[in-house]
Each structure stands twice: as structure tokens, then as C-alpha cells.
């Protein structure tokens, strides 16, 4: 769910674009399957973390058959909170020397 939020953080994307974005950012380690993706999307839609915007993206990027998703304010704050939580965890781990120093 976090990966989907991150994928949508900068721009609206359609399903396949989200899969590609996640795969790129994780260096191919996480390859979402279609079922997992849409099950996650359905739950996020219900919980109001993302929406399906009415307006389409700029025509040159638009793919008629695709459905695009956009992160909501709630989704953004959830993503931020999660990022903060992860950062805290890493900081704690680093303090004990079990995580790499910031590059």
C-alpha cells in the first residue's frame, strides 16, 4: 500500500504505470501482480486514500482505455506518517549500529 502511495505521490498513474514505477524504484525486487494491485487499489479507494479523478491527464500522456488514480490529502498524510515512522525506525537502528550510515 505504501508503495502505491509513493508511486502516486508525484503524478496520477494508471495500474500498469504503478507496477512499473514500484518495480523501477525497488530495482525489480517488488513486482506487483495485477490481482494484488487491484485488491489494494479497491481497499485504498474504500478508505479514501486515493481517488479516480474525473479529469484525464494531459492528452499526450493519456491512454483512452486506462483508469488513472490520484492520491488524496488523506493518502498523502498517511504516506508521510508512514515515512516518518520508517525513518524513526532506521534512526533507532543506526544508533545501535545495525543500519548503514547515511550515504
Amino acid at each position: 500500500m505504501f508503495h502505491v502511495l509513493v508511486a502516486l505521490a508525484d503524478e496520477d498513474r494508471h495500474g500498469y504505470a504503478i507496477i512499473q514505477d514500484v518495480a523501477e524504484r525497488t530495482g525489480g525486487q517488488i513486482r506487483l501482480s495485477a490481482g494484488t494491485l487491484y485488491r489494494t487499489i479497491q481497499r485504498m479507494l474504500e478508505e479514501g486514500l486515493i481517488v479516480e479523478p474525473r479529469e484525464r491527464p494531459a492528452p499526450e500522456d493519456d491512454d483512452e482505455r486506462r483508469r488513472y488514480y490520484r492520491i488524496t490529502a488523506l493518502g498523502t498524510s498517511l504516506a508521510k506518517a508512514e515515512a516518518r515512522r520508517l525513518a524513526e525506525l532506521v534512526k533507532m537502528a543506526r544508533a545501535r549500529g545495525i543500519a548503514p550510515e547515511r550515504a
Binding site: 494508471h14 501482480s33 495485477a34 490481482g35 487491484y38 479497491q42 474504500e46 482505455r65
Partner: protein
Amino acid sequence: MRSYRLLLHLYPASFRHEYGEEMAAILARRLADASNPVARAIVGIAAAVETIGNAALVHLDLLRQDLRYIVRTLRRSPGFAAMAVAIVALGIGATTAAFSVTDFVLIRPLPYREPERLVQLWETTPGYSGMELSAPNFRDWIAASRSFESAGVSHSEALTIVTGGEPHRFQGAAISAGVLPTLGVTPLLGRAFTEADDTAGAAGTVMLGYRLWQTEFGGDPAVIGRRIDGQMDIEADTFTIVGVMPRDFHYPTASADFWVTTRFRPDDYVPLERSNNWLDGIARLRPGVTVDQAHAEAQVIMARLREQYPKENKDTGARVVSMREDLSARSVMLLEALSAAAACVLLIACMNLANLLLARGLERRRELAVRTAIGAGRERVVRQLLTESLVLAGVGGAIGIALAIAAVPLLSQLVPQTLPIAASPSIDGRVIGVALLLTLVTGVAFGMAPILRSGAGRDLAALRDGARAGGGRREHLRSALVLGEIAASVVLLVSAGLLIRALLAIQGTNPGFDVDHVLTMRVELPIPEYAPVPMRQAFYDRVLQQVRALPGVRAAGFISYLPISRFRGGIWPVKVKGDTEAAGDVRGANNVAALRFVTPGYFAALRIPLLRGRDIDDGDTRQRPFVAVVSESFAKRYWPGEDPIGRHFDFAFEDRTVVGVVGDVKFRGLERQSEPQAYLSAPQVKDNWITGYAPRALAIRVSGAPLGLAPEVRAIVHGAAPKVAITEVQTLADMVDLDTASRSTQVRVLGAFAAIAFVLAAVGIHGLLSFAVSQRTQEIGVRMALGAQPRDVVRMIVAGAIRLGVMGLVLGIALAYVAARSMEALLAGVKPHDFEAFGAAVALTAVMLIVGTLVPTVRALRIDPISAIRCD
């Protein structure tokens, strides 16, 4: 690609519609990106695998979502939820309880090896198809037969043993060595009886029942080989414990705690014994032999035995019947009635539930239409409604099963005592499985009703302002359901009413004695110690003298067996000189009498009326002429229209003179025909003869509460004979009540079912009318505004109810009559068209209609025309 689209059908339709295309497109992209066929195959397989896993998860998501929604909506209408759950609980509870008994008695295989090959053996005489066997006839039958692999006989036996310093008496059976191998049961500990154990003169051996082993021997495995001194009905012996039987072994009845061997002696096989029918016979068919073949063979064998012993075996036949089927027709009919009643209750419950859900469906029609309109697919709505009815049915079913488990002890009274199975049914996996299945069917079938009724196309109409829900066909279906409920509850009310009438008729039967204020007990005088008559006489004299001296005692006396007690037989042939009817007929039914020895005071203790002559008195000793007091029917049978006093007859090995006539007693039970009775003076019998008839039952008439006197009487008996076991201490009234206990239970169970049906039907009527009123609020308001009087409104509401009620009554009465005809044998002479039962059912139905109609009518009258018109 096409197979992927097929796989997508594993997802819920709503999910598929939403995302199916996208997912297919993604797969297409991936396939296109894959460089070679192998990579493409891997992509395809991975997609298939993840689809299956994710589809299940999506279903779970939906379920969770639906459950949340259902809990929320049900919380908003707790009345509806509670009602639906209660209805299902009652329906499932009644059905499960009834099924647990029926399954236990009629369906479940008997707990023996290949039980379908086990048969019961009977002798027959004209008019009696199930008579016990005589020892010589059984021996000859089995010797001549080729149908049986093995066979055995048994008879009930009682054993008094001293444990913990006190004599205790136990019920059990004497079984021949063939019984256990025939049943195919092996002991839990030790060994079974051998032929050597079961021969005349063999040392005593005993096998313990599991219960007795636990309670009296502490479950000690070292009990095998121990010797115990025991006193049986008419002989004492030392018994070596050779085995312990498993916990679930019950033979011949659930009350058997021990088994000894029969040890027949040569004199058990003399020709005269052929008319002494006292043994229960069982056999195991050889593989491939049918019950019919064995039965046919038995006819041939018995014909030969009739030729060989024309006098003793006159009119004697033989019957072979499968052990499972060897239940009285009454037991089968009772269980069928019970099952039918339970099915009726379940049916009513289901109709009610359907009605409830239909009404709710109509009420929620707009809500559902809105949800459909904003994009919830019809499939989602259906799915949600179904989940809701399954949740309601599930909760109700669970409560119902719990109710059934709680009801089982009550129902154990309905288990026939003559079967070799445990006395109380157990709720096992099968029963619970059936209950769950019923719950599921109830939930699905009756949850579907409102769904089928809400056609997809018409949902939009519900959105239109002011659209009136529930006209036309829908109302007809709901009315038909209520009609069915009324009819079914009438059937149950009539059936319960008939059984109550039958019970009252039986309980109202005069047993021939006064049951109140009598304390009874059995004093198990040990034989041979008390075989000499003077020994017993001294005991009776001392006990009776002391008991009569107790304050509050009005009369006391001993008898061989009290009427309507455990032992109800003891029928002996009567010979009267010059009576041509009896000549040459050893076992004719019309020249026998029940033999009882009594002490003076017995008739007074039971208040059996002395009609002529005198009671047995202390002067009727062995030195005096042997006398008898006979019952009225006895006197009428042999000396019709004449004075019986002073007449002679030959009975129990002696010539007897009639000195008195007493009223007839129904010693065989309130529902059965009893033979004429002859009472003999206790000491007028030879020493050691027929000691089984030595008076051992003590009856004491008191002025106060009978049981309060029991400790004093016990002390007196033990003072006269310290080693004697005292059993069956109870009031005469309790003993007679026991006779109708099974019937009382039937009445209670059927009455409970009828009451449930009654309430459910009333709820059904109420629900139907309430709903109609709330749907027609506006119409009623308009009518009232236009000048309709309250009575017009009442007529409008009540007319429908009356129409339904009358139709339901007519249908119900017709069905009830059919039901009553089919259970006529259970009715103890009450006619299936009994006016009181039908009248009461009609009256109750009227009450049900009035109660069900009242609240909705009042509500209709309270409608304020102005706000009703405005309300939309």
C-alpha cells in the same frame, strides 16, 4: 489470454467488472514485454497462480465488508434481528431435538458387529405375535435350523450383593453362552462366558457392566477373578467375576448392570416347560440368509414341534424379525409423530423468517435501489442480503442446537426401554451436521425469497417518489405464507390436544385401587434362607405388627408383586371342574389368572374394595383349607350369575376355595387389558415352591405424607432381617405415574411444539398486518380524511385477517384430521375427530388471530390523516 479471462471469473463480479479489463491489459503488456516463449509461459503461469490466491482474498474482503455493514444495519433494527434469530433458534432447536431421538432409535445402526444380520426370535399364539421363547422350544428350533450362525437367549435377573456393608440390588440379565458371540461384542476386560460356564451345575460366573464396575468396584482392573456372594431372585451363589463389558454395551436393556449365565437344568427342558415362555431369543443370520428365509424355515420347524407336543405347543408359531425393526409400532409411530411435529415447527419458522425478510426487503427496497443506482452491482446487493440471512440463520441455528442439547434429557423418556441401546440419546456429529445443514438451507432458501422478489428492473421504480412498495403478487406470497403457518399450527394444536385428551383419559382410568397415601417398598428376602414358609411368616408377622403400631399407619400388607410395578406377569392356568371351555387347552387365553400371594391387610392398604365374602386372615394358615380371594372378573368368568363363595378351583398346584371377591385391578398398567386375578394366602404354599411369588412388596397406607415414614419402616425391616436389601422405596402414586411418564413426555414435547407454532403463527399474522398498515398509512389517511369511519378502517384491516384465518383453519382442520387418523393407535381410545381437541384448536386460533390483529388495528386507528397524507 482467453483462459486468463476465464480465471478472472473467480473474482467477485463487482471486482471483475471494475478491474477485469485493466488486469487483462496488464497481462497483455507483460506478455508483450516477455522476450521468448519460455518467459511468456512463466508470466502466464504466475498470473494464473496469483489470480487464484487474490480472488480468495478479495472474497474475504467483501465478506468482511458485508459483515461490518450487516452488524451496523442489524444494530439499527435490533427487534428484527432478535426476532429472526429467535425464529430460527426455535425451528432448528425443535428439529434437532426430534432428529436426535429419531436418529438414535430408528436410524443409527445398533452398536453390534454387522447389526443387519441380527434377528429377534419370537414364539406366537393367536392374537399375540411377540411372545417370549420357552427353553425347550428354543433349543429344538436352533438345533433344527440352518439359517443361523449363532443364537442365544436371555432373561432378566436381579442380584443383591453386599458392598460397603450394605446390601445393594442390581438389575441385569442371565444370558446363554451364545449371546455375546451372536452380538459380536467382546469384553473390555477379562473373557466372555463359555459353554462350560453355562451348563447345569457349573460354578457361578458374572460379567460386570461398565457402570457397576465403576460405581461398586472403583473401575479396578484387578477385579477379574474376584469372587462375590450374590443373591439372585430365587437362588444364592458365589460368582467369580470373569469379565467387564464396554461402556456402550446395553443388553437386553439400558438398565442391565451385570450378566450371569442361564445354567439351564434338565428340568428346564421337560415337556411342560414348552408352555413357559420367558426367554428373549436373538440369533445371527448366516451370511446370505435373509430374514424372510429364516422366518419361513422357522414355520416348518415349529410345525414339527406342534406335532411332537400337540398339547404344550398348541397354536404355537414362530416369528423371526430383524433386530432393528423389532420395535413396537407405537414407538415408531410416536417418533414419526414427533418428527412430523418438528418438521411442522421448522416449516412454520421458515415461513415466518421468509415473511420477515420479505417485509424487510420491501422496507429496504429504496435503500437497495439507491445503492444499486450509485453503482453497487446487483450481485453485490444479492450477496449482501444472502450474507445477512446466513448470519441470522447461523446465530439462530447455534442457539437452536444449544437448546436441543439442553432438551435431550427430557426427550430420553421417548426412547423405548426395550431396546439394547443407551437410555438417553446423545447429540453427536451426525446430529449437529444435520442441524447445520438445515440451518444453511434455511438461511439460503429463505434469504433468497426477498432477492428473487426484487427483480432488478423494477428496483428503479422504488426510487420514484411515493412509489408504494408491496402490492400485488408480493402480498399474495406473504399471505400464502401466513396461511400456511396458521394451517400448520392448527395441525399441531389439534395433535397436542388429542394427546392431552388421551393422557387425561388414561390418568383418569380407575386402576382399581386408591393410589394416594401409600408407601411401598420391596424387601428382597434372600432365598434359600427364607425358602421355608415359617421363616417368612415370622418375618411378615413381626414387620406388620410393628409397622401397624407406628403412628399414622392405617393398614399394611405384603404381596408378591404390586400392581403396575416392574413385574406385571405371573399368569397361571386355572382349572375349574366341569368347565368345558378350558378342557385340553394348556395355554388358552381365557382360563388363566394372575397369581399373587398376600398377607392380611393388603386389600385395606390399597383400598381394593371387598365385594363379597371376607379378606384373607391370619387363620388361613398351612393347616387350614387353602383359600383364595378372586377378582370380580374371575368370578364372572367361571361362575356367571352364581355365588362364587365356597366354589373350588385348581391353581398353583393346589385346590383352592373362594372365600371372597374383590374389585378388579389393572395390574398390567392403565392402558392395558389385565387378566383376572386370584389372591392366595401367603403361608398356603409348600416350602421351597414358587419362591419367586413369596410376598416381598410391602404396601403401607398412612394418613400423612408416605415417604416420611420410610426411615422407621426401614429400621423395622432391618430389625427383623438385617441382611435384607430394601429397594424401590416410593409412593404408590409415583409408581403409577411412572406408567404414564413416557406419555406425559410426549404430551409435553408435542405441547411445546404446538405452543411454539402458535406463537410463531401469531407473530406471522402480526407481522403481515403491521406491515400492511405501515405501507398503507397514506391510503388510510386519505380515506379517513374523506370521511371513512374508524369501523371502516377496522373492517379493512380485520377482513383480510379473518379471510386468512378461516382459510387457514379449514386447511388445518382437514390436515389435522388426516394426522389424527394416522396416529390413532397413540390416542388410547380418544377418537381422531374428538370435538374438544378440535374445538380448543379453533378457539386458540381465534385468540391467535385476535392477538395478532390487535396491535396493527389500533395503529391504523391512530393514524392522523393530515400527517399521513403529508408524510411522503
